[in-house]
Symmetry: C2
Subunit: 367 residues, 2 copies
């Protein structure tokens, strides 16, 4: 699977794999794709440095990248404590009541909340970048709008391509104006933050909006057939996130969550503001139902919601409370029905891709 972009990056398959797990990211790069490590959970720069050291040793000199979550709008002089103070007491009580209703135990004393939202704050993301540019990363992706101009410049000075996620053609066009290099068009069916335009419609709209910049199609892609469809729609690559969650290299820290993912169908996700305050696709659970219930207090805007639920989500995950246990994941969760190595996933993707190419050629009378 070769495009201008894959040739530029020196990868075998134009498959970009986003994952919070260094072992998965490295395996994606080794398999001939492009591993992109999600940095949002690293609050301490030395933790990120440790994992990038590990990546460096395990990618067999293949290229890889980093995904940060840098807000488009700069908020000056606002601390986490300031933001915490903006959370209404009624919402804190709702969290407490909901956890109580399901008997969710506390974290052990001194146990850190594993789910951290502070990576969303610009200074945290900037600290991550200070670390990242010491490594030979080839791509910097931002999940929240275009990065600030100085960050784009700094990336380009380091020969690092900049990618940004977009949920609409208009959004994609703004990224292009900001000077980024690659647009990741994130369709409605994608896991995590996503808009309302489905990939089938969004991908060609984004391609048209930013040409000649390359577009990666994201959302609804978990098979070689879907990859072939994305290329037909004009993408120069595909961006897969959900699919890796059930690979053997992934470390969800919860057997119950892995089992939930393996059992879920494509109709078992919901686009909810429960996790961050912005609509993000995730497993539908009694936790998301509680937040989406019109009879409840509703969610708070980003970043308040993320701060509000951070500890609660950690407690639910840590104690594997079945009814509430969830994770961001896209509609392709319906085909994540077995645990396999990243390499086995790649083998199946490339086989499915070739089958799909055979099929469209037969339809076109070029068989």
């Amino acid at each position: 699977m070769q495009t201008d972009l894959s040739r530029k990056l020196g990868i075998e398959h134009a498959i970009f794999g986003f994952t919070p797990f260094p072992a998965v990211a490295a395996a994606i790069s080794r398999a001939g794709g492009f591993g992109v490590l999600g940095a949002v959970r690293y609050t301490a720069p030395d933790e990120l440095a440790r994992d990038l050291d590990w990546m460096q040793e395990h990618v067999d000199d293949r290229p890889y990248g980093l995904d940060v979550v840098m807000p488009a709008k700069k908020v000056e002089g606002v601390s986490e404590a300031d933001v915490e103070a903006m959370i209404p007491e009624g919402h804190r009580q709702f969290v407490k009541d909901t956890l109580g209703k399901y008997g969710v135990p506390e974290l052990a004393e001194g146990e850190a909340s594993g789910w951290r939202i502070t990576g969303w704050m610009e200074q945290v993301a900037r600290n991550q970048l200070d670390v990242a540019f010491d490594y030979p990363i080839k791509l910097l992706a931002n999940a929240l709008g275009s990065p600030p101009a100085d960050v784009i410049k700094r990336a380009h000075d380091h020969d690092v391509l900049v990618a940004a996620l977009a949920g609409s053609a208009r959004h994609a066009g703004k990224h292009a104006e900001a000077g980024i290099d690659i647009v990741v068009a994130q369709g409605y069916e994608a896991g995590g933050h996503t808009g309302e335009i489905a990939s089938m419609v969004l991908t060609p709209e984004a391609v048209e909006a930013v040409a000649p910049l390359p577009v990666l199609a994201a959302g609804g892609i978990g098979s070689g057939e879907q990859i072939a469809a994305a290329f037909a729609l004009g993408a120069q690559g595909v961006w897969l996130g959900s699919l890796w969650l059930t690979t053997t290299e992934a470390d969800l820290h919860s057997r119950a969550l892995t089992e939930k993912l393996l059992a879920a169908g494509s109709g078992d996700t919901v686009r909810s503001r429960a996790l961050t305050g912005k609509p993000a696709r995730q497993l539908r659970t009694e936790w998301t139902d509680a937040w989406d219930d019109p009879a409840g207090p509703g969610t708070l805007p980003m970043p308040l919601q993320g701060l509000l639920v951070a500890e609660a989500v950690s407690r639910i995950q840590k104690h594997e409370v079945q009814a509430l246990l969830g994770t961001p994941v896209g509609q392709i969760v319906g085909r994540m029905n077995s645990e396999r190595s990243v390499q086995a996933v790649f083998d199946e993707l490339t086989r499915g891709f070739e089958r799909a190419i055979d099929r469209v050629n037969r339809v076109a009378g070029r068989g």
Copy 2:
């Protein structure tokens, strides 16, 4: 664009075009596709007969089909008046108030409500079938579940293939068990009644669920690139509805509505219960906003909502009340930016398809 199904039907391109307009349906068949006339608006059998007579004279002996809306569940001995009586007075008042707020004039005396919902009632659909089977239709599609077993048998006795729309793989599987011949997998991005699974995910799931039965991909398809994507996903054909609304052969009876469609972007639709009581994608208007507003009375279940709003929708359309004027349409409305003949649309679809095939072959190294 040839598949086993297109060969079986003797058509040049595996493109199925659903439309309420006989002139459009006939033009689709003449252009080498398969025109499917939507029958829901025909309450009088002789009107349907008149339009099928016209079709017969204008299809140049090409095959065509009919789409009915036959409820899966049979309701015995319930008249339209019985159903009307179930509508709460508060909802009637809300319709009156909303129309009043926008100064929507009454229909002229004796002027029939153009938007009719009665085609949804089984007896009306059965009367339509009595007419339709006198014509050499080759396909009978049902937009609401599988048709009753006796209707499927009757179709098969007439050598008519039966298709049914499905919004999930499970739904598709039920159709297959009922003995239908073709599943139309209707993705989230489609116009009209639709579920929450996007075409990129739904198409391959439906294909897998009903193989070896053929699946037509519906939703998000308005270009040759999207058609190629659908074939990559395993579809044996595509089912397009929205795209024809801005063809020169279409007769929307409202210049203002045509202009609205030409101007709308992919983000200007909403999946709302406002029109029928079931979620249906349509242009977002102040009318849909009023029904979707949590502060309002909300919508009634099918078929109550359709009966409740039938006259109001006719008044809005007749008097072209800009803020309220809408129509069912999918997210591809964003690329419906010019008025062209059905033949010109086909020419562009086939050119775009060939370009997409070239592109995927280059990616696959088969260029």
